[in-house]
């Protein structure tokens, strides 16, 4: 079973919400649509669900025209980022709702509902009112309702974004277990997220979206290791990959009058000229023999510190694997790990990556 989108485009106003979107997805796989807010992720999911009719393009599922099927007849299930349930129904009735719409036998409905509730850890909650549940439990009900349909396509629109950190971590783990189990072996799972860490943890394929376009599609490893352009490099990293302009000349990378770096092995052969260089925060560390940068901001995140530093026009974020305090304006010495250096051309396309060398 495969879902194929060809040239999907949607422009409700002056801006493209979907711009020539093409992809092919196979059953039993998890696909994560990764992009910033307003990238077009929700529009794409709603288009797949049938809630939005694209201006152009086609959707086929197993060679059938999927796009012309009315939403209420499509084999899709969807979980929203808000915890959407039917407040006038109990937990059991909520999960049973799509099956009742299909006029299934009550014993079959019961069996399926109980199984779905068990999968999401809500067995014993059948008679509870939705209002009596916590946010995490409400989202589990929504998830159970999406699983119970055994739909061909399951759409998850940032389902964890409104949960607190701890619960998000817990549910993310549970989601992965549910989706990698029997429950979804016959479905195509499409998960949208703004969080690159979440996308990487879910595994599967990643589709990076920006301004309604799919910039790159590949396995999480491939997208992480070889982002095909600067936008993908930024979207797939948290904090976003540092980008700074410089020149390659005489086997050295010249970033400013004071900063020049030796060209690493994977960049040997780069022609002389101007490039955009990229480096993840983890590649920028403190070193007493490094280059002078002044601190603009230091953020403590758990056991790590994000250090926002600047040298002339070069503003970067470094990641320190310990909690440290810095004063604004304080001068620190910084080292660039050139083995982790990415090079993009002036059109922002990848030229060289640490994992694949020159393109």
């Amino acid at each position: 079973m495969s879902l194929i989108a060809s040239n999907l485009s949607f422009k409700p106003g002056n801006e493209w919400h979907l711009d020539n979107v093409c992809f092919e997805m196979s059953k039993g796989q998890i696909y994560t649509i990764l992009g910033r807010t307003l990238a077009g992720k929700t529009t794409l999911l709603k288009t797949l669900a049938g809630l939005i009719s694209p201006d152009e393009g086609t959707l086929t599922l197993d060679d059938r025209d999927f796009g012309s099927i009315p939403v209420w007849k499509r084999e899709v299930a969807m979980v929203y980022q808000q915890f959407i349930n039917y407040p006038h129904l109990s937990v059991y009735e909520n999960v049973a709702f799509p099956l009742k719409q299909r006029r299934m036998q009550s014993d079959q409905i019961k069996a399926r509902v109980m199984k779905a509730l068990q999968q999401v850890g809500l067995d014993g909650f059948e008679n509870r009112k939705i209002q009596a549940l916590s946010g995490g439990q409400q989202q589990r009900v929504a998830l159970a309702r999406s699983l119970v349909k055994e739909a061909s396509v399951i759409l998850l629109d940032e389902p964890l974004v409104n949960l607190d950190y701890k619960l998000r971590e817990q549910l993310r783990e549970e989601f992965r277990n549910i989706f990698s189990s029997e429950a979804s072996k016959d479905s195509i799972l499409i998960y949208s997220s703004t969080d690159p860490v979440e996308a990487m943890q879910l595994g599967g394929q990643i589709l990076v979206m920006d301004e309604g376009r799919i910039l790159q599609q590949g396995t999480s490893k491939e997208v992480y290791e070889n982002p095909n352009c600067t936008k993908v490099a930024q979207i797939t990293n948290d904090p976003a990959m540092n980008l700074f302009e410089g020149r390659v000349d005489n086997g050295r990378i010249i970033l400013s009058s004071e900063i020049d770096l030796e060209l690493p092995q994977h960049c040997k052969g780069l022609a002389t000229g101007s490039y955009i260089f990229g480096m993840r925060a983890a590649g920028i560390t403190l070193n007493s023999t490094g280059f002078p940068f002044s601190v603009e901001l230091s953020e403590i995140s758990g056991s790590e510190t994000f250090l926002h530093i600047r040298h002339e026009m070069i503003g970067v974020v470094g990641l320190l694997d310990s909690v440290q305090n810095f004063n604004t304006g304080e001068v620190v010495r910084v080292q660039f790990d050139t083995l982790q250096l990415y090079v993009f051309d002036q059109n922002e396309q990848l030229v060289s990556s640490p994992y694949r060398g020159l393109e």
Binding site: Y80, Q82, Y86, Q131
Partner: protein, 282 residues
């Protein structure tokens, strides 16, 4: 300081309560008086100032020929017209409001907000402006002085209230609920009656209450558009005010006219606090 503030607060509440309750107490007291007790100076406390009797209440269902005021027929006329007008207004108003809330209408410069305003603009105009066209139209269709004519007029008058309240209510119901129901296999009509409607009961009750209050208490249109065949309760009560006003019967009739609204308010009050949408979108 705090004690003074609390005392003043309670004093204000007590004074306001007296101000609100006093006319009712006056009406209740008067309804148990007779001609002597009403006309021989102010009397307040039953069995002390005057001897209470049920003459005023008995007169309500006696015919004028028997010395009564007979408000039974006007009462049931009012019940029928108000209930029918409110029910139809709520049904049509809820459907209209759902459409205005969920779909985008464009006709030249007119948008959804304008259409909603057109509905309510009928309530903004002075009633007398509407009365003449209503009078002429009902006359053309031979509906003057009929219950059907009054129901039609009441639908026109009450539906804007239902639309206004329900549009606001539906706008607060997340559209994602509708979308989820569509995805779960409901067609658009099923979305409305299986999901949106059950979650809109508090809004419908509020809109229904307002429709019933405005319909039940209307005097102007029922006075203008009826003559001899049909009489509604407010007109019948006012008609009691003649050269010799039977204040005891008038008070009893006034209390009877208030009773249905009080009863409805008590019945629906518990529904107003139930069935909220907190579980739909946390």
């Amino acid at each position: 300081m705090r004690v003074l503030y609390t005392s003043l607060k309670y004093l204000a509440v007590v004074l306001w309560s007296i101000f609100v309750i006093a006319p009712f107490l006056w009406a209740v007291s008067t309804s148990f008086k007779d001609f002597q007790s009403v006309t021989n100076g102010a009397t307040y406390i039953p069995w002390v100032d005057f001897e209470p009797n049920l003459e005023g209440w008995r007169a309500l269902w006696k015919s004028p020929a028997q010395g009564g005021v007979d408000i039974v027929e006007p009462f049931f006329n009012s019940v029928f017209v108000t209930a029918s007008g409110s029910l139809i207004s709520i049904i049509l108003g809820t459907l209209a409001a759902y459409a205005l809330s969920r779909f985008t209408f464009k006709a030249g410069f007119i948008r959804n907000g304008d259409i909603t305003f057109f509905f309510i603009s009928q309530r903004i105009m002075p009633p007398v402006v509407l009365a003449i066209p209503f009078f002429i139209m009902l006359g053309k269709f031979s509906l003057l002085d009929t219950l059907a004519g009054l129901i039609i007029v009441y639908i026109v008058l009450l539906m804007p209230i239902a639309v206004w309240i329900m549009v606001d209510f539906f706008n607060k119901v997340p559209v994602e609920i509708d979308e989820t129901a569509l995805i779960d296999g409901c067609n658009p009509l099923q979305v409305f009656y299986k999901v949106v409607l059950p979650n809109s009961i508090p809004g419908i009750i509020v809109a229904g209450m307002f429709c019933m209050i405005f319909g039940w208490t209307d005097f102007f249109f029922s006075f203008i558009l009826t003559f001899t065949e049909v009489q509604l309760l407010p007109v019948a009560i006012v008609a009691l005010n003649s050269s010799i006003t039977p204040w005891w019967s008038l008070s009893a009739a006034a209390l009877v006219s208030v009773a249905p609204l009080v009863l409805v308010a008590f019945i629906v009050e518990r529904y107003l606090s139930k069935g909220n949408l907190s579980g739909a979108l946390k």
